[in-house]
Subunit: 151 residues, 2 copies
DNA sequence: TCCAAAATTTAGCCTAGGCTAAGTATTGTC
DNA sequence: GACAATACTTAGCCTAGGCTAAATTTTGGA
């Protein structure tokens, strides 16, 4: 026999609004996180991060990359040397490191749940921007329990 | 001793771009999903869904709600009876039901991982738009295993 | 019935993030 | 050293989704 689904009465209007506000905030920062993470990856793996490669890997036109990089520069995350690629400021580097750590944790968690690699990566690309620190802690705990099951 | 982190070489540019494209697609549909889900909740819990209540609960101005509802109407998800509130079309109702089922599954999963209620709800509000069917299946499997641990 | 309060719409503005087409600048090869 | 290919920028466009301020419309109570 199946238990009735838990009743979930509507939250207060203020609480409800706060949740959506957090979601909007995450959406606003997602692009910056993805760009700096990708720039850091390219610098590490290829030695340089060119705008043209960002465009290819983001699946977006070069003009869009130019505009986005402009915003990242304005916000102090990125520096450019024309025809010499993109570089991260200190702040950009910190953001990239945090984004990558979070990205990797989400991927490992989804893999541990049984997802195939490509699905885990694809889902992580969106999910990573919306998980709280508490959720990340819970993911890490889950992974740790997996590795030392009896202990 | 700690194992070295798994090397994750960069995916092909096409695969990489496909992941970001999926993320952008999810972002595009997120607002519609949240609105129809909220309209359905209000209709069920309060008997009517007024634009003014959507504004309060979304944490957004009434003018913004008017504009958003206009897009939802254009897209065949919502109908309005001025000063009598908002209603869902058949398609809107289907989308709302799917969104609610997904929302609730994500919340139950996060609760099972040990998150407190408010964090689970807040995270779910964003995460729900970025989890694939495969991930949802994995979440459901995890919950089922929890309920019948020995079996 | 009147009319103030509430709900809704309209107008006008903004930013992020997309696009194409057409420039301009640099590189690297012959 | 010239110059084609490549990289990048600029111009001009678009939509979604925010905002405030100012109508306008409807409701409901005195
Ligand atoms: Mn991402
Ligand atoms: Mn990422
Ligand atoms: Mn949501
Ligand atoms: Mn939801």
């Amino acid at each position: 026999m199946r238990r009735a689904l838990a009743e979930r009465p509507l939250p207060s209007a203020d609480d409800h609004a706060a949740r959506f506000a957090r979601q909007r905030e995450a959406d606003r920062t997602a692009t910056a996180e993805d760009y700096v993470e990708l720039i850091a990856d390219l610098l590490r793996e290829e030695g340089e991060a060119r705008a043209v490669d960002l465009a290819r890997r983001m699946g977006v036109s070069q003009a869009t990359v130019t505009a986005t990089i402009g915003r990242l520069q304005r916000d102090g995350l990125v520096e450019t040397k024309p025809y010499r690629g993109l570089f991260l400021t200190e702040e950009g580097g910190r953001l990239a490191a945090a984004a990558k750590a979070r990205h990797d944790l989400v991927v490992r968690f989804l893999l541990a749940l049984g997802l195939d690699h490509e699905t885990a990566e694809a889902d992580a690309e969106g999910v990573e921007h919306h998980v709280s620190e508490k959720a990340l802690k819970a993911f890490a705990r889950f992974l740790a329990d997996r590795e030392t099951p009896g202990r």
